[in-house]
């Protein structure tokens, strides 16, 4: 645990001493601002963050997480510091988890900054706080899943651009894969529907916290982080 925290702390300080953390928070706030205005500027608009966070999940989650994580392992490989990490008395999964947690802290923190819009809603109206909380819980899980994909992508290559592109592709695939389920039909449709990150987010945005959906994101994280650990391990053989 101490090792995980040491690595997370180091990554966190790299995020905040470079412009990265501020750019992420800035971009996120600017775009969610647009989403927010768009969602309240409708006839009979609901006082909720449903549209705001749904757009965040759909538009921003494929983009921001892989950019945040592209550096994590790709740069270590380029600088040769991976050799140092892998010869320190630290387990490979501790390295992966530490880096993942640092990126989640930054992205999660930036997402929580958007709670600002909830305060605006509370000022003008009376939003139902239950769905707000569940939607935030959902978007945090969503972002964790996307970051786990990004961590794997970064562990695959020494090139940050490649890492970001691969991460972007996988996350986008997971968010749109449900859209084709009506075309294929049958059991395949059910499977594709269950794989979709956006489908599992739906109930959160409606105020329902379903164990299946929570498990989906937890398993998604676990699978991709596990693959990342194996990918880092494989560096030892090459």
């Amino acid at each position: 645990m101490r090792n995980i925290l040491s690595i997370a702390y180091k990554e966190l300080s790299t995020y905040v001493t470079s412009p990265m953390a501020y750019i992420i928070a800035g971009v996120l706030l600017a775009l969610t601002g647009v989403f927010f205005i768009d969602s309240v500027d409708q006839p009979f608009a609901l006082a909720s963050v449903r549209g705001l966070l749904r757009n965040t999940a759909f538009f921003l989650m494929p983009l921001i997480p892989p950019i945040m994580t592209m550096r994590l392992f790709a740069e270590e490989q380029k600088l040769g510091t991976l050799e140092l990490l892998l010869t320190a008395p630290v387990r490979d999964f501790e390295v992966v988890l530490g880096k993942f947690l640092a990126s989640f802290a930054i992205l999660g923190g930036s997402l929580l900054l958007t709670l600002f819009y909830v305060f605006i809603l509370r000022f003008y109206s009376d939003p139902d706080i239950g769905p707000v909380l569940s939607a935030y819980f959902g978007i945090l899980l969503y972002s964790a899943g996307a970051l786990a994909v990004g961590v794997l992508a970064s562990s695959l290559t020494g090139n940050q651009i490649v890492a970001a592109t691969v991460g972007f592709g996988i996350i986008l695939m997971f968010s749109v894969v449900g859209n084709v389920s009506s075309v294929v039909g049958g059991a395949a449709a059910t499977i594709l529907g269950h794989l979709s990150m956006t489908n599992h987010y739906e109930s959160f945005s409606q105020g329902i916290v379903d164990t299946t959906d929570v498990l989906y994101y937890v398993i998604l994280c676990a699978v991709f982080l596990f693959l990342a650990v194996r990918s880092v391990e494989s560096r030892r053989w090459r």
């Binding site: 090792n3 040491s6 040769g80 510091t81 050799e83 140092l84 320190a88 008395p89």
Partner: protein
């Protein structure tokens, strides 16, 4: 305590695909010993070091650090090693002090110990001026020192230094060598190099590795004596080439004579012979007695490749 084996390698073999980077390498090092790993590029030095530091597992064979197997008890073995890879691994966007702090933390040091040891290694490696500087602003030589500083930070029993003097300026090379020498005794050090004099200077024992296999293990002195079998002399002689070669080959002690014609008609002869000053005197006398002009005569040192070749052949392959 003095006769404790700190590094032990047993029949290490490492294949990359079909290519054996290291083949059946066995050696050991006692506590406080400084062992040099000498070999040309791609001889298998780095691969051996990567096995010892637990970075990469061997295809077969085993190795242990301070009694811990590098594969089965990898974490424990890694705790006892300080490692400086060939390309100094530095987070260039960190400050020297933050980098050292992080290296201490991931090696499981207590924060009070980290604080104390950072002070020590800054002193030992003469980094006082750069304590608070970003690593990206440091020159190559100082980066090398930061690399050494992180390797000794946790007071490891074993230090593994991969080509620690490559790519830094001559003054810093001298300083780095002195630094390594001063670290011996406390630490068991294994360092790689492709410079024979460097290894002779720092190490008590030299392991010569060539094409993945150990060719010779000896003290620098004994190794020097074994190499004294031969000397190479370059001569420039004004005279008929064929006759000169025949005459030189006829001298007892001369093993081989080759000649190359320069563009301007001059002829250079490379004479491999028994070692010793009297040999050169004999060569000079022979040339002069035939009435040819001896324009130049100078001993040239054998190249590293030739040293390996000699050792391989003298060892019987």
């Amino acid at each position: 305590m003095s006769n404790q084996t700190m590094i032990e390698a047993n029949h290490l073999t490492k294949y990359y695909g079909d290519f054996p980077a290291v083949y059946d390498v066995s050696f050991s090092a006692q506590k406080g010993e400084v062992v040099g790993f000498l070999g040309p590029n791609a001889a298998g030095k780095t691969t051996t070091m990567r096995i010892l530091t637990g970075f990469t597992p061997p295809t077969s064979g085993s190795a242990s650090i301070a009694g811990y197997d590098v594969v089965a008890e990898s974490l424990e073995a890694r705790r006892h090693v300080g490692y400086l890879p060939e390309t100094v691994p530095l987070y260039t966007d960190m400050k020297v002090k933050d980098y050292l702090r992080f290296m201490g933390a991931i090696r499981g040091m207590e924060s009070s110990a980290i604080k104390r040891r950072i002070g020590d290694v800054i002193d030992i490696c003469h980094l006082e001026t750069y304590y608070d500087a970003y690593i990206s602003k440091l020159s190559k030589g100082f980066r090398q020192r930061v690399g050494v500083a992180q390797a000794i930070l946790h007071e490891p029993e074993v230090l593994v230094l991969d080509e620690p003097t490559v790519g830094i300026d001559p003054i810093q090379v001298v300083e780095t060598r002195q630094l390594i020498k001063s670290l011996g005794g406390e630490h068991t050090i294994i360092l790689s190099s492709h410079i024979l004099p460097e290894v002779s200077m720092i190490c008590q024992r030299v392991i010569i590795i060539h094409e993945g296999e150990i060719v010779a293990v000896d003290t620098p002195q004994a190794l020097g004596e074994r190499l004294e079998g031969a000397e190479r002399v370059q001569m420039e002689v004004a005279g008929p080439a064929a006759q000169v070669v025949r005459t030189l080959r006829g001298i007892t002690g001369v093993q081989d004579v080759t000649f190359t014609e320069q563009g301007d008609g001059r002829v250079l002869y490379a004479v491999t012979s028994r070692r010793g000053d009297e040999m050169r005197a004999t060569l000079a006398k022979a040339v002069v007695e035939h009435g040819w002009g001896l324009l130049r005569l100078e001993p040239v040192s054998l190249s590293l490749e030739e040293i390996f070749l000699r050792l391989t052949t003298s060892e019987g392959g």
